[in-house]
Amino acid sequence: MKHFFKQLYKNQVGFIGFCLCVFVCSLALFAPILKTHGPNKQNIRDRFEGPSTEHILGTDNFGRDLFSRVLYGYRTSLGVALISVSIATLIGSLIGLTSAYFGGFIDRFLMRFMDILLAFPIILLAIAIIAVLGSSSVNTAFAIAIVYTPIFARLSRGPALSLLSWDYVTAARALGASGSRIMFKHVTPNILAPILVQVTLSLSTAILVEASLSFLGLGTQPPTPSLGLMLSDSRDYMLLSPWVSLFSGLAILLASLGFNLFGDGLRDLLDPTLKNL
């Protein structure tokens, strides 16, 4: 672990990404301490203000403090992203591993089922799921999770399949190691690299999917602040007061930049064939 961080530190881009991730996550985590106003507290008289000492990033159309809303927006958006990607990673790779381990009919059935989900354009599947479940941040996270699950299933199945044919795994099998032991002890650690990289990239796209759903009125519901919803709502006021658009856009950019750079760094570190690039 220590070694890993040393390597990460050396890989500048990855390290910057890592720091950004830590930064935005702590903004979200410590939002209740850092906030200067209640995120939903309206003050109509102070609407559409630019940045000032009272409101660091200015105020929105209801005079709500933008800085505090960005903090809580991170909470919602990162929460949605983390929950959805975690579920997708867990269930997806479980499906992928099961598929690879058993092969045959189970493999075919599971993978075809994943293909069915993968065949839907992302946004349409998410719209349909949310229409069924109703719109809220939790349901948005759930919808995104379902959308991402097949990606992780595919991603883990391929490498697992080739690992299972390797000598040492065959040897472990011959020695009578149980299926779950082989999968978790021998296979999982070796497929972690591509999955981790995909996790970081998915985190940043999940924020975008949430934003697109909010644009269609299907994501997080007001007054809960989410970065996507704030950006989407701000389009009506772009000419009256550009601050909301600017800062919620920047907030998304910061998180996305962090995840992407961190993902790049991870890939460089974990995938030895790319080390020299």
Partner: protein, 493 residues
Amino acid sequence: MQKFVLSLILLFGFASAQTGTLELAVDQSPVGLDPHVVTAFSSIAVLSQIYDGLVESNADLAIEPALAESWTISDDGLSYTFNLREGVTFHNGRTMTAEDVVYSFNRIMAEETGSPQASRFSQVSSAEAADDTTVVFTLSEAFAPFLGNTANLSVVASEVVESEDIGQVAIGTGAFMLDEIVPDTYVSLVANPNYYRDMQPKVAELRYNIVPEASTRAAGLRNGTYHLLPVVDPATAQTLENVNSVSILRTQDLAYSLLGFNTTVAPFDDARVREAINMIIDREEIVEAVYFGQAEAGGPLSPGLAEWAVDTSEYSCYTTDVDKAKALLAEAGASDLSMEILSFGTNKIVSDVSQVVLAQLIDAGIDATLDVPEFGTFVQRWKNSEFDAFVSLNGGNIDPDGYLFRTFHSDGATNVYKFNDPSVDELLVQGRTQTDLDERAATYTSLQEKLACSGPISHIAYGTLLSGIANGVEGFEQNPTRSLISLRNVTVE
């Protein structure tokens, strides 16, 4: 001879002076074309150009002749005789007669049509064609709003209804004829060359462009793609205000935003709780925050109905007073009030009003939450009264009865609040049967006073109807009913 030819050209040139296309941008495609069934504003905006009623209401909400040239009302208010214009033809060339009016009326009243207008004519016991141009309606009891309601009696051609699907074709007598519907793109109407009003319509084509995104409609008006946005939201209007090539028109809207309660759910069955919430709501703040000042706080009737509406200063509960509200809640045993407000996100005014109302309630210490389902689900729950309270926008009417009866009468068509107050019912029935204007006004004054503070609705605000119009478009006049009948007078440069 030359002179004759010249004058003929002049005459002819004048007669076919319908030139140009008026490009409108609206947010939604029309939902269905059956004039007796549709309720969506997007449909009515189109159909009101194609079909005519017996009368129409002008920009000052006065009733003017349309298909009926004149009318007489018997002294007891039980018999209405309409004299129809002569020589009015349907778009298919056939002459319209009194039989068509009777046919259309019967179609509205027929159960299987399922027309929402039927309840507006429930006092009519018979409609008969005395001759080709005279229709007589006989009422079972005097019903003051009847005349105004005949504006909604769209006259259809019986042979069209019988042989074709009236949900797909539209053959009326109106100034424009349906030309083409390209789904999600535009609806195009062309001028009716045989329209019964001289020199109208003035443009050759009306094109309703379907543009879902408000900022896109605004950008289109700015750069000349569109000539007219019949409805503009207040924020967009503010940004368009400074654009040289565009002007913003204003008139009082009849529609109002409201917070409605389910009066069968405790504690909202207690009038004191509803009154307390009225006191918590700061209407001025909502007018500023949601409407950008382009609205007026109002009670049960629109300030646009100047002869009827009671001034809000008369309502004690319209003065925001959180302490008094809390005392009232305590008295009702509802100090720890918690409520879920149902709302929907497809209308910006509704979505914004619910957010500000929510914040005001929370600030006053009420445990309020917002539930924003998808619109279809909202309608479902609204219709089945599955809510504590909801925020929505209600359409208006040119007659107080149109506002109040269907909303507050225990048998009212849109009484989703399940409000049941015999004294209100009595006044509502009284109001619609009174023919003496002063007596009627007195009835509605006491109704408004009764309903404003302890009725099932916290009336919030009557918006200003904002329209955006490009320079060079002349003759457009806004109508508080949101009807677009003045389009037949519009010219495009």
